[in-house]
């Protein structure tokens, strides 16, 4: 009897199929995108030069600044979403000569390794991933495919308190690798694996990554282009929360037991479904649009799980880095001591100290390594974002883990931005620089989101307007820009609901701000292993800012409504305009509060722990 997990009931979920490219839609997007950018310039020009309320500059300037920064994002999005450019699909490779220049070597079938990296995940969960990895098919029997469980938790049976990962690996007949330390976390684990394996191509799977049988068949063909360094497949979470009729949520929370009342609630709210993918975990927008469209600039970056790599590319980077590291240390020494004989003496130590590190030891090792590979001027490595889903994985199931995971992404990317900014990186093309910059820029969003969230509150309590007048002029510039922007995004993300994404874009402001502060304070970004299980802690600390902002907004609205009723409100239209924004803000902020208190339906849930 195999162990039961909460996600067992989602086993049969089918992945989405990738958006089909349509050139007319792309043209439409490009047209609307340019129109949006032009209208944005007109709007901001008017805003900066004519609209600022001189009596409330303390309010007007931050707001217009926030709008300008947000406009920069709009430009970046249009640039990023410019076009699809899916790479040509080719049949799977058989011989080494198909993927690299043999240079006089004897040909042989390629060797492929599959790495399953684990740290502390339930061994039975890893077993499922192993079983699925074993089911991966390949048309050529002489192509050697080896599966390795890379256990950074050292669960080889030495500690009776821990589960025995080694035993599971042995039972499943796959290789098992451990190391005696955790240096470099996942990147270190991969380094260790690469030292002990020989595959020409290797796939990285996480403990919860369940590869589909077609995983290799559909991806190895890309390596026929000998410049392709890695292929990333979309990460698809098959355990996102289900949509639930609003009526049942109401009945459950209000503990309604009267049958007639239940029927009434059902008839009123039964058709409205809520709580679908409550954590906004569905990464479709990211993989199917953002990353996939980066193929156009050869700027799709690696995201770890579900990727296949060319070993020679990553080793080339590692060896070069090794040499560069020694050179740098040597120069440092040379600056300190002029005498060259001292350097010769110390060189031995330098060489011994330096390590060969394939994947950068960094909290965002995958994106950092991608930048380094893209920036390699001699090799001009190419990356590929494969459009179709080739594996499924688990998402975070509680807000605390969710926040920690996303905070790590944010802090990792920002850390790269501050220490080794891709914009100034020699070797990247302009398109690549802008693409990486877009990723970094998006993590600065909390600055302007915070201003957008607080400006209605500021209005309600100060009754000062950031603009001089709600005249026709204002709407003449504002409305076309906003409408065109919405249409542009709709065309750019055609086929994907951006509802949750937008909500989380806004409600993420707080933890993103915290991530930003962590990096600015110079703290080391820790690599937290994302817990893949359920921890229903009350996550109040993450939603406290949301509760405060929503409360202030509601109190402000009430206060203004009273003023209006008493006829003492100086600007009724201002109240209307701000109230409109507030509704959108509150809805967006509330999603995270709902997520914090969300629990799966109790009726059919199986306890995973």
């Amino acid at each position: 009897m195999s162990k039961q997990f909460y996600f067992d009931k989602f086993e049969d979920r089918k992945p989405y199929s990738a958006i089909t490219d349509n050139k007319y839609r792309t043209w439409m997007f490009q047209f609307f995108g340019i129109v949006t950018i032009v209208l944005g310039i007109a709007y901001l020009n008017w805003r900066w030069r004519y609209s600022l309320n001189p009596d409330a500059l303390w309010f007007a300037i931050p707001l217009v600044l926030a709008e300008t920064l947000s406009y920069v994002s709009t430009i970046l999005v249009v640039f990023n979403f410019w076009s699809y450019k899916d790479p040509k699909k080719s049949p799977p490779v058989h011989y080494l000569s198909e993927i690299e220049d043999l240079q006089g070597r004897r040909d042989r079938p390629v060797k492929i390794d599959i790495f399953i990296a684990t740290y502390n995940e339930d061994v039975e969960l890893v077993r499922q991933s192993i079983i699925d990895a074993k089911k991966i098919i390949y048309p050529f029997s002489d192509v050697q495919i080896k599966i390795y469980v890379l256990d950074d938790g050292r669960r080889d049976g030495r500690d009776p308190a821990k589960e025995n990962m080694k035993k599971v690996a042995e039972e499943e007949g796959v290789n098992y690798k451990i190391r005696e330390h955790n240096k470099g976390y996942k990147a270190g684990n991969l380094k260790n694996a690469l030292e002990h394996t020989t595959g020409d191509l290797f796939a990285i799977l996480d403990a919860d990554t369940r590869a589909f049988p077609s995983f290799l068949v559909n991806t190895t063909g890309y390596f026929r282009r000998d410049k392709v360094a890695w292929v990333q497949t979309p990460q698809w979470f098959y355990d996102t929360s289900e949509a639930e009729p609003l009526s049942s949520v109401i009945n459950r929370n209000l503990k309604i037991e009267n049958k007639n009342l239940i029927r009434l609630v059902d008839s009123v709210f039964g058709r409205i479904k809520i709580n679908e993918d409550i954590f906004g975990n569905d990464p479709r927008l990211f993989y199917d649009v953002i990353l996939r469209k980066r193929n156009f600039y050869n700027a799709a970056f690696c995201c770890g799980a579900g990727s296949i790599h060319r070993r020679d590319a990553i080793m080339n980077l590692a060896v070069k880095d090794f040499a560069d590291g020694i050179k740098r240390l040597e120069e440092d020494l040379l600056n300190k001591h002029a005498a060259s004989n001292i350097i010769e003496d110390q060189k031995k130590d330098l060489v011994l100290k330096q390590e060969i590190i394939p994947f950068k030891f960094h909290a965002s090792e995958d994106i950092y390594t991608s930048i380094m590979l893209h920036a390699d001027k001699e090799n001009r490595w190419e990356s590929i974002q494969h459009p179709d889903i080739e594996c499924k994985m688990l998402s975070t199931q509680d807000l605390d883990s969710w926040v920690k995971q996303h905070q790590r992404y944010a802090a990792g990317s920002l850390d790269i931005a501050f220490k080794d900014n891709p914009v100034f990186k020699n070797g990247l093309t302009l398109g690549q620089k802008i693409s990486y910059f877009t990723t970094i820029w998006s993590y600065f969003a909390p600055f302007w989101i915070l201003i957008f969230l607080l400006s209605p509150v500021a209005f309600f309590f100060s009754l000062a307007l950031p603009v001089q007048a709600y005249s026709f002029d204002f709407f003449k510039y504002f409305l076309p820009f906003q409408i065109m922007n919405t249409i542009t995004i709709m065309l750019g993300c055609w086929g994907i609901s951006t509802k949750r994404g937008d909500q989380y874009y806004i409600s993420s402001f707080w933890f993103m701000l915290m991530a930003l502060l962590t990096v600015l304070r110079g703290k080391e970004v820790k690599f937290n292993v994302t817990p893949k299980g359920k921890h229903f802690a009350k996550n109040t600390q993450h939603i406290l800012p949301h509760i405060i902002i929503i409360s202030l907004t509601l109190i402000g609205m009430l206060y203004n409504a009273i003023l209006l009723y008493l006829g003492k409100h100086p600007t009724a239209s201002g109240f209307a305009a701000n109230a409109f924004w507030c509704i959108f803000n509150i809805v967006a902020l509330s999603v995270m509060i709902r997520a914090a208190y969300w629990k799966p339906l109790e009726t059919d849930s199986v306890d995973g722990n």
């Binding site: 080494l96 043999l102 240079q103 006089g104 070597r105 004897r106 042989r108 290789n175 005696e180 330390h181 240096k183 690469l194 030292e195 002990h196 394996t197 020989t198 070993r311 020679d312 080793m315 080339n316 590692a318 060896v319 070069k320 090794f322 040499a323 560069d324 020694i326 050179k327 040597e330 031995k348 060489v351 011994l352 390590e355 060969i356 001699e378």
Partner: protein, 147 residues
């Protein structure tokens, strides 16, 4: 720190295997064997029968491990290359090496480091120009010594 400790232990073993003169470990069976291209990371010319010492692990150690050990990065390099140890310098003959890929270079770096830790310097002889160029392009020419 832990890592370097580990590496030094490994390199002890590596050194024993590599320098038959210095080793009297009874567990090691030293035999000569025609070398095929064991791994493509360092490719030997297959036509010319090259004789080089090959070290295999004793049968008494776990059988399942044999293959894995054989794959250990660095191990196969040492097994594949023919070398002579003389007065603190380990000479490797790269006469038959026509091609080296980046994994192979990483292997050589590991080898270099493990020997350096013992105070042994590596020198490569009969290195083909193509390979020299490759080392140079990677910026490794100051670390590896060719003669």
């Amino acid at each position: 720190m832990e890592n370097s400790l580990n590496a030094s232990q490994e390199s002890d073993k590596a050194l024993d295997r590599l320098i038959p003169e210095a080793s009297n470990d009874s567990k090691l069976i030293i035999e000569t064997k025609e070398v095929r291209s064991l791994d493509d990371s360092i490719n030997l010319e297959t036509n010319s029968p090259t004789i080089s010492p090959t070290v295999q692990k004793d049968e008494s150690s776990t059988n399942a491990e044999t293959e894995e050990i054989f794959q250990l990065r660095g191990e196969d390099v040492k097994n594949t290359l023919s070398g002579v140890y003389f007065q603190g310098v380990q000479y490797f003959d790269l006469k038959n090496v026509n091609f080296i890929n980046n994994t192979g270079i990483a292997n050589l770096i590991d080898l270099l480091k493990s020997l350096l830790e013992q105070g042994v310097v590596i020198k490569f002889v009969n290195v083909k120009d193509k390979i020299k160029t490759k080392f140079k392009s990677l910026g490794l020419d100051s670390i590896f010594h060719f003669s």
